[in-house]
Amino acid sequence: MASGTDQKAIFEDVARVLSTHSHTQAPIRPETRIGADLEIDSVEIFDIVMELEDLYNISLPVEAASDIDTVQDLVSKIGQLANVR
């Protein structure tokens, strides 16, 4: 698990989790759109968020999850919550 502000390590964790849920061969990069490029729907994204919440011991509010579009959005949100924990 990545610690604190280590965005690169967070990205690696996020990419690993997303890769197990992706429905396409699209490469997972910071700018990759989770819905449009990986074809992960809004129901699946909640399951992914729960996995990452457990990994970082954080809770991502539902309202914040609905703002997540790209992989970087998710990485940034996790980094932000992990820092203020």
């Binding site: 129901v43 309202e63 924990r85």
Partner: protein, 369 residues
């Protein structure tokens, strides 16, 4: 065979029968758990209310829309659920929208089961509290998420008694323990479970022996109560404050006299009539065993909702049409309205179903295999 779109209009004949395109079918997807929509006592009460009070209130509860019967219904609910306060709403949807959005505000936290009904999510949206989801029916996951919260602000945990899609029930006794151990209030939506579980249908919390420990309990009149409307009751006396600030309570017309009278009469039937919840569960066990014997695997143990997962959406739609052609109406439930993107044939049982009707439903399912 032509496939129908998965909705239909019908002429209702009884709690379990309807005419569709001039053909009589058996209804097995109405949520009419106790079959009281055709009870003579309930119908008479509604007709009498229209004769005495007219067809509508034409106003909000806070203005001209509180009739004596609205207050009487709230008193009946307090007695039925052994509660200190009760508020009646115009629909079940509005009950959750109003109560959840009013009980938690900015700086508070709402913790909701991941499989919550849309009205719970909408109530959370209308609230200014932060909403955290926990894994479905998992007190352990709830405990973990409660432990992560800051000390500031109130905490309200929201779960349902009986989940409407898969027909599984919540471990309410465990949720009570976890919520109260972490300083949270527990809110239980018993929309589907009131009438079906517990002594005289008082609900799942009563059946599990924790009714007096539930902080807030909501429900609808549109299922077992054979009417339209919703309610929230509480063991805390302060619930009445909601009447002054809750927008879904204030800014809508109150329930019609006939709806209020029907709900009161249905509650009277539940308390004083034949034990319909017992009859309902006998039919539920018969249907569950029959479908299992026919080679299907229900998603949950026997109960008033029996969901049959299908391998994909197309199969579910085809089978739904074949059942309707065979004279059986069930609910077709497909993603995104279902948990875990399941495609389901969803049946709801009624105490009004006869043993023969249940056997006919089972035979129709057997023909699908």
């Amino acid at each position: 065979m032509t496939s129908r779109r998965p909705t239909f209009s019908s002429e209702i004949l009884s709690p379990t029968r309807a005419l569709v395109d001039g053909r009589e079918i058996i209804l097995a997807g109405t949520n009419n758990y106790l079959g009281l929509t055709f009870s003579e006592a309930v119908k008479s009460a509604a007709i009498d209310a229209i004769a005495r009070q007219g067809t509508a209130t034409t106003g909000s509860r806070l203005a001209n829309g509180t009739f004596r019967e609205h207050i009487d219904l709230e008193e009946d609910l307090k007695t039925f659920f052994r509660a200190k306060s009760a508020v009646v709403f115009t629909t079940g949807y509005q009950a959750n929208l109003a109560a959840i959005s009013t009980l938690a505000g900015r700086g508070d936290h709402l913790l909701i089961d991941a499989d919550s009904h849309a009205c719970i999510y909408d109530g959370c949206r209308l609230s200014e509290a932060e909403t955290i989801r926990f894994r479905h029916n998992s007190p352990e996951d709830l405990a973990k998420r409660l432990a992560r919260l800051p000390d500031e602000g109130a905490r309200l945990v929201v779960v349902e008694g009986l989940y409407s899609m898969l027909g599984d029930v919540a471990p309410l006794d465990e949720f009570v323990a976890v919520a109260h151990e972490h300083g949270a209030y527990l809110y239980v939506d018993e929309a589907h479970s009131v009438g079906c579980y517990g002594d005289r249908g008082r609900g799942l919390a009563e059946e599990l022996g924790v009714l007096d420990k539930i902080d807030f309990l909501s429900g609808t009149f549109s299922k077992s109560f054979a009417s339209i409307g919703g309610f929230c009751v509480s063991r805390h006396p302060g619930l009445d404050l909601m009447r002054l600030v809750s927008r879904p309570y204030l800014f809508t017309a109150s329930g019609s006299p006939s709806n209020v009278a029907a709900a009161r009469a249905a509650m009277g039937e539940m308390m004083n009539g034949p034990d319909l919840s017992r009859e309902l569960m006998e039919r539920a066990h018969q249907l569950h065993a029959g479908l299992t014997g026919a080679g299907f695997t229900p998603a949950s143990p026997p109960g008033p909702i029996i969901a049959i997962p299908r391998p994909d959406e197309l199969t579910a739609v085809r089978e739904w049409n074949r059942l309707l052609e065979a004279g059986i109406y069930v609910n077709l439930a497909v993603p995104p309205a279902t948990p875990h993107a399941k495609s389901l044939l969803r049946l709801s049982v009624s105490a009004a179903h006869s043993e023969d009707e249940i056997n006919t439903i089972i035979s129709a399912f057997r023909e699908l295999t």
